[in-house]
């Protein structure tokens, strides 16, 4: 088991290195650098000005060298300009030249400097990740229990009416991407002119003109039912259907197993068969699915944060990518690769732990 985890960690490291190099390569293509120079300097820069701006800051070195500097295995680029200012990879505003370290890469714990927010990447991304963590937590709280309940109820009696109607519900939810359900929810539940809000207001049931808020801006400091419900259920809805279908399939398979039949023939009540005999075995497969759902949720998070103007990790990805904020983008991809691979690892280990029939040799 220890060796298995070690090997997986090695694989993770290799994948992360490859992926960050690809991101590094793509963001360091010349047209992208040109855009960066123009957004940092001014938009009417001549070609020579762009070249000298990029050259002074070390952007025109070969990509592998820049990548090594970002990793921290090569000393960071620095250069003294004609007016005596020192610019370079490790230079930060407010830090004296003699205090500037020679190496400043991931290995030194320095994630770089965001050219858009004018702040160290680690500081910016940390607070954004906390916001997204809050969102993800509530999504999980809503999504996982409801998906499991729907799946178990549907798979209990395969082909029954409950099964068919719940399966239709889960198909409907898997075919509603976040940007569709989000739009529908906002139009129906968060509008002061249409949908449910004005109607309930006229009946005197709610004080505000709309039931929920269409943006989640205020939810970053103070999340409540009014501003956080819509983003959470928008993400939860799309993932829910898939988990429910997997749970249903797994439950239906378990219910046809021999030992369930034996239990039934012994005269155990249906309720007890489901609760005591079937449920535990039926939940092994959904556990893997839920873990593998995380990378998918990451997409949903980006869409929903963008739609509801919630300042989290996803929003950071969109702004960083839109402005070619190289070091921020790299940090974002490291984080998402980490999430994907760690959840894969957890799902593998958990599967072995939950299912005694499988042993890794």
């Amino acid at each position: 088991m220890g060796l298995f985890i070690l090997r997986r960690f090695g694989m993770m490291l290799l994948t992360a290195l490859c992926l960050t190099y690809i991101v590094f390569f793509m963001t360091n293509l010349y047209p992208n650098l040109e855009k960066l120079a123009k957004t940092q300097g001014n938009f009417r820069m001549s070609e020579e000005a762009v070249d000298s701006y990029l050259g002074d800051r070390g952007y025109l070195q070969a990509t592998p060298i820049k990548y090594m500097q970002w990793l921290g295995v090569m000393p960071g680029f620095s250069k003294e300009l004609e007016d005596g200012r020192i610019v370079g990879k490790c230079v930060r505003p407010g830090v004296a030249p003699e205090d500037t370290p020679r190496y400043c890469g991931i290995l030194q714990g320095d994630w770089g400097f965001s050219t858009v927010s004018k702040a160290p990447v680690a500081d910016v991304l940390g607070s954004r990740l906390a916001n997204t963590g809050k969102l993800m937590f509530w999504v999980m709280v809503v999504m996982v229990p409801s998906a499991l309940i729907i799946g178990v109820l549907a798979g209990m009696k395969e082909g029954s009416r409950t099964d068919r109607s719940l399966s239709t519900v889960s198909i409907l939810s898997t075919s509603t991407p976040e940007y569709v359900s989000g739009v529908i929810f906002i139009a129906l539940l968060a509008s002061t002119r249409n949908g449910l809000g004005p109607w309930l207001h006229d009946m005197g049931l709610i004080e505000a003109k709309s039931l929920f808020k269409g943006t989640a801006k205020s939810a970053m400091d103070d999340a409540n039912l009014r501003n956080f419900t819509l983003p959470v259920i928008t993400i939860a809805l799309y993932g829910m259907g898939y988990i429910a279908r997997m749970t249903r399939a797994s439950m239906a398979e378990v219910m046809t197993a021999q030992y369930i039949r034996t239990a039934r023939l012994k005269g155990v009540s249906f309720r007890n068969v489901v609760m005591k005999h079937a449920l535990r075995n039926a939940l092994i497969a959904p556990f893997t699915v839920i873990m593998l759902q995380f990378p998918w949720l990451l997409n949903g998070v980006v869409i929903v944060e963008f739609l509801f103007a919630y300042n989290g990790f996803g929003m950071q990805l969109v702004t960083a990518a839109g402005n070619n904020d190289i070091e921020m983008l790299l940090a974002v991809s490291v984080v998402s690769v980490f999430v994907v691979l760690v959840t894969q690892l957890i799902s593998d280990i958990g599967y072995v732990y939950l299912n005694p029939r499988i042993r890794i040799s």
């Binding site: 198909i171 739009v183 509008s191 990378p295 997409n299």
Partner: protein, 483 residues
């Protein structure tokens, strides 16, 4: 002119009936749900002589009521459509006028269903689809959009206005608003309202279907070609090749899709020509696939194989060169006289990135299927006969893996549709005025709380198409499992 109401004067008679039946239906469904726990379950009694006594208990009665109310609801909906198609514009309101515009689609749908149902026993898996209600509903939804795209894209029928024309005074107007000044031959209404640039929402929606129906199935097909061509040898031969390809697939899958889109589908990246190089690589796979497919089967008969392979390859390679070579891009190898068509650079980059995102998943599915059927008897039989490995992979294993692959193909078209919408939603790829659904949703979302119709119409369209594909996949899975 008066603005159109939703159902017009025809609705004043039939609307109350519709509402009543709808209400009763909801009540009956609720009763059914509760009744399942309260009353005794339905129990048809089978007698010794083979006759059956139908249960007359409460649950059976509720069940009959639900079924007949649902049928009545469907019949009423059909009445709206039929009345809309035949009555003059305005009599059945917006719904009628929209139904009238879709008239060719209704005819094509009815014809398809009549033909398919009458010959369903001779049509294999496709015919079996018409045994499952879910499958039929899904197929109807899918074909609705396919026919819409066909009639709009090829015959220019359904749409009433140009999707890009902005008419004065129609900004953010509600559905059914008449035009300010109607010129000769112009349609007098904005059926589903105007968007924030005073364009016709209805016409944009139907034009948007063309983009989706064109790109999504084709991109999925290419992804399948890539996935199958690489997944078969990876699963069957194993070894270093498998390790390497699986590593690559996991690499792409570890990328968050949106980050990948942002890296690939920006104007700066298009300027470097990376999408063109990717197209060059990805479009080769169908050629490899068909070359190996034909060669592995017919290599023992050179007289048949040589002309066949030469003919197929000539056509495919020419198409390939036409597709990747375009004037003004990095790959401009074909002289203009031989270059039959150019792919728009916006569409190309969207297409390539969607294929790129989908192929690793297909690869993993195919590889898993191959590992699963590796140990079957027919594979061992073919190996004993001394068949080549490509013959075994392509002519023994692939046909036997078709069931799950067809089901996944349907699901994946739906997923591709969602991806295309995501691209549009972030304003990537196609130009911002393009009527595709993702872009329109993105345009409409800014004023969502005040004018919901410009975003809701494409959102519901996308939902119905993806739902149709998912239901179709579900029906197909059920029917193919029954074999």
């Amino acid at each position: 002119m008066e603005p159109l109401t939703w159902t017009g004067s025809f609705g004043s008679i039939i609307d109350p009936v519709f509402q009543l039946v709808g209400l009763l239906f909801i009540v009956a469904v609720a009763a059914q749900f509760i009744g399942a726990y309260v009353f005794a379950p339905i129990n048809d009694e089978v007698h010794v002589d083979g006759t059956i006594t139908r249960d007359r208990g409460a649950n059976a009665i509720i069940g009959t009521a639900v079924r007949s109310l649902l049928l009545a609801l469907c019949a009423l909906a059909a009445i709206y459509i039929v009345a809309g198609v035949f009555a003059p514009i305005g009599k059945v309101g917006i719904i009628g006028a929209v139904a009238k515009q879709f008239a060719p689609v209704w005819i094509a749908l009815v014809a398809t269903f009549l033909l398919s149902i009458s010959y369903k026993r001779r049509l294999g898996l496709y015919g079996k689809l018409f045994d499952s209600t879910v499958g039929m509903i899904g197929y109807a939804l899918l074909m609705f959009w396919v026919y819409t795209a066909l009639f709009v894209g090829v015959f220019d029928m359904i749409a009433v206005n140009d999707p890009l024309t902005q008419l004065s005074g129609m900004k953010n107007k509600l559905p059914g608003t008449p035009l300010r000044s109607v010129e000769e031959g112009q349609y007098a209404y904005y059926l589903l309202g105007g968007d924030n640039l005073a364009r016709d929402v209805f016409s944009r929606m139907v034009h948007g279907s063309v983009v989706v129906i064109l790109i999504a199935p084709l991109a999925t097909l290419f992804a399948f070609m890539v996935g199958i061509t690489l997944g078969l040898p990876a699963g069957y031969l194993g070894g270093k090749l498998d390790t390497f390809l699986s590593f690559l697939a996991n690499l792409v899958l570890a990328f968050p899709v949106i980050l990948l889109f942002y890296l690939l589908v920006t104007p700066e990246i298009v300027a470097t020509g990376i999408p063109n190089y990717m197209a060059m690589i990805l479009f080769v796979f169908p050629i490899i696939f068909f070359a190996v497919l034909l060669n592995s089967r017919f290599y023992t008969r050179p007289h048949l194989r040589n002309p066949l392979l030469a003919g197929v390859m000539l056509v495919m390679i020419w198409t390939y060169l036409c597709a990747i070579s375009a004037e003004g891009t990095v790959i401009n190898i074909l002289p203009p006289t031989l270059d039959l068509f150019d792919i728009d650079s916006g569409i190309l980059v969207v297409f390539v990135s969607v294929v790129f995102v989908n192929s690793p998943t297909v690869f993993r599915i195919v590889r898993g299927l191959v590992l699963d059927i590796h140990t079957r008897d027919y594979v061992a039989a073919a190996q004993t006969r001394g068949e080549g490995k490509w013959y075994i992979m392509l002519w023994e294993m692939l046909p036997n893996a078709r069931g799950p692959l067809i089901v996944d193909f349907c699901l994946r078209i739906g997923y591709t549709t969602i991806l295309l919408g995501t691209l549009g939603f972030f304003g990537l790829g196609l130009e911002s005025e393009s009527p595709n659904w993702g872009n329109t949703i993105n345009d409409g979302r800014k004023l969502l709380a005040i004018y919901p119709h410009p975003a809701l119409v494409p959102a519901l369209s996308l939902l119905s198409l993806v739902l149709g594909l998912n239901l179709l996949a579900d029906g197909l899975r059920e029917e193919s499992l029954r074999d």
